[in-house]
Symmetry: C2
Subunit: 515 residues, 2 copies
Amino acid sequence: MAKKQKTFRPKPRLPKGMRDIRADEISAMNNMLAKLAQIYELYGFEALETPAFEYSDCLGKFLPDQDRPNAGVFSFEEDEDADWVSLRYDLTAPLARFVAANYDQLPKPFRRYQTGSVWRNEKPGPGRFRQFTQFDADSVGADSIAADAELAMLGADSLEHLGLKRGDYQITMNNRKILDGVLTTAGIDPTAPENLGERLTVLRAIDKLDRLGQEGIKDLLGPGRKDLSGDFTKGANLKPDQIDKILAYLATGSHGTSEPKERAEVLGNLEPLVAQTEIGQEGLNELIEIDNLLNAGDFKSDRVRFDPTIVRGLDYYTGPVMEAELTFETTNEKGEQVRFGSLGGGGRYDGLVARFRGQEVPATGFSIGVSRVYTALETLGKLTKDKRRAAPVVVLVMDQEHKEKSQAMVQALRGAGIKSELYLGTSGMRAQLKYADKRCAPLVVIQGEDERENGQVTIKDLDLGAKLSKEIEDNKEWRESQAAQQTVKSDELVRVVKSMLAAQQEQSGNDGGAA
Amino acid sequence: MAKKQKTFRPKPRLPKGMRDIRADEISAMNNMLAKLAQIYELYGFEALETPAFEYSDCLGKFLPDQDRPNAGVFSFEEDEDADWVSLRYDLTAPLARFVAANYDQLPKPFRRYQTGSVWRNEKPGPGRFRQFTQFDADSVGADSIAADAELAMLGADSLEHLGLKRGDYQITMNNRKILDGVLTTAGIDPTAPENLGERLTVLRAIDKLDRLGQEGIKDLLGPGRKDLSGDFTKGANLKPDQIDKILAYLATGSHGTSEPKERAEVLGNLEPLVAQTEIGQEGLNELIEIDNLLNAGDFKSDRVRFDPTIVRGLDYYTGPVMEAELTFETTNEKGEQVRFGSLGGGGRYDGLVARFRGQEVPATGFSIGVSRVYTALETLGKLTKDKRRAAPVVVLVMDQEHKEKSQAMVQALRGAGIKSELYLGTSGMRAQLKYADKRCAPLVVIQGEDERENGQVTIKDLDLGAKLSKEIEDNKEWRESQAAQQTVKSDELVRVVKSMLAAQQEQSGNDGGAA
């Protein structure tokens, strides 16, 4: 091995689409996840953890936003010449496996939340990683539509608990059954196997409304659409009166209007379009029931609204669907004003547990895209990241022979609950101060020979020192300035460090706090 | 897809060596991890997260306790016909990659802690999983021996912060250099390439002291050993006087004695054995310095002791090594009294970053085996797991037509910070009560038709109800007993639920609390 090291030296690099996460982000993220867990438990969901990988046949081919089946996952053999396993691509497929395996012992409905990494073997890009975190709540075995209403409330309460103001976000709901009602009135039976492709094309077209606008959708519902690059997307080939029916349906909600409509108004708009079909009326009744429950919970349309343009993925969902998004625009990398986009979503699905058990098990879920919410909160300045407050006091080692004295000081500080560390290198004072600066240490503690002999110790505020040195032109005057440091009796160390830290915190509060 | 579901039904099963983790364990575990993070940050370590998999060449072949190189990991291709990646098997190899990749920007020493899952492709067994959690602290670029001393203190403080009593655990330290000194005095140059195998055989033999006893080690240092099954393990083939020197060295510590020796005594015992060799003296000086620093931090031999029988893995470590273990015996599956074994350990290593950069970077680390510590705390009854306190109040739905009433009650409870949920199925009262019981709900809220008409609500303590039904022989009397339930005005719901929950908590405190 010793020889091999000389001949082969690997390049230290991250796999594609992977990233390291540093302390300040971890801390803000953990804080966020803990707050989410709090709300999910308040709602009566219990935590579950499943392993990082599962047998590939158990995960199935249910990537919600994936056209190609089986693509997008990382797979490998469990042992040599053994079964294939895949890293989980979401938290819903493992839940289905768990519920199917433990069906008899579980309370039904089974309400669980889960957070953890998922992996997608997709093309990485800016902000698009191959490993990312989801935060899911699902009620499995819940046939009551109250389960769907509750997830919308959960979404709204979660985002507010994280610091988003009411009005800054919206939860938007729709029901797949209503679209199927519209298709029926347009003469397309959505349940007929030969129409599956057509229905999918319509769903896909609606999903592109935000990007392509009404004209683009019209083309996609009709003969097809050529984009600016000349690429042609095949359309659903619907007749003009069929297209009109779908466009009328899409116009029942708030999409494209500046003022969001009340839920009751959207329900009123939908009624004449679908009430004559069984499936449409069923979907409408479900939305009416959801509206009643939301009203009972005092969730008004400023938090949860109805909009028929919400599709949420292509296959997979069978009833109510929902999406959470920010309502305000942000500036993208190109400096353009853009909608921030989806923070998460979900809906009702019945097929996942049925894969294992044969019989359908009604289920509904909501998933938060943790890193998107994180970025949103960061953009809004809602994350507290104070590097200096998070960093330890650094006790310098001026004389390696007397390291124990410094160690004893560290011990005293830790004993008082003050984050602190001994400098663990063997470099000189300049390097040690540079180290403390790089760590963003709030204070450094120094005991040189003179101080040691006098039973004293010097505590220095590097940040304040740097500020003062900018203000004070005369270098000598700065060196002599005592404002940024204090030399005190050794046994006063803890008291003085505490008071200097308190002064810093007060100062940083005055400076505006969260940075 | 719909067709395929009918023909193929996968068996819902976990991959080998994997497990699901339920809510009560997750909660206790997160609690434990948060406490550890608190101590690690108090010590000035900063958090880091790295991805679940790395390029295989970056991880290298450094499994600490693995004889076969390259075995024991899960690997797959990053993309089709692309580079191989492996799930991380520990948190140290990714740290080395991270440090090498970011060397110039990092403060040095770089002090980081990390917790997360690691994966080993090893034979699973009872309590041995293929995915488990580690909690590591490492100081990279720390040439001061104070870094090693600090990790021993960190280990002790961590275990106590988790609830282990002083005396229930011990941190034991040793130094690889002292063993090399002993080998030198026995006429074996430990640095000569031709002696590498011999040195490894000696290390391995010492590592088996606990299991085989002094006689077994003697055989392994000599011609070899035949075990009870008849299998023969080749020995190091040392001469009797060489073996004596190693056995004398092993006897300098507390191993095999009932009363642990003070660190100073062990140092005194070691001195004559190795002081005449350069490497031995160096190792001894390092232990003396560690002793001084531990004394300065007031860490006595009841928390951190020295023992030359500690080896810690085979290759990998280059200086001080340490191990954390429980001092008391527990009962194993076979009913035998056994030592609980190692809770974690670590030591100084120099080669890992050198793999990437060529030059050696001094580093030292300590890793806690999270699930072992968890099991230890569980065995000692130090984990709080109160299912009923963790579970939500369940509001029953007596009439699907009036679900909104129940939803409004849930909303009121949640608004008061009380975990609660609406029953989300469509089954009758008996099934709902069964559900609440399975969930360990502390209370259920019921509003039947009569109550609704009278503006009332009934709150029922299922647990107390069950207890009372045992005590009360007369079934009728029990049904009429009001002790386990209260019917109150609807607007008193929150107040009464709060007081009934408080009464339960008081009761569970009287029952002994942590279960």
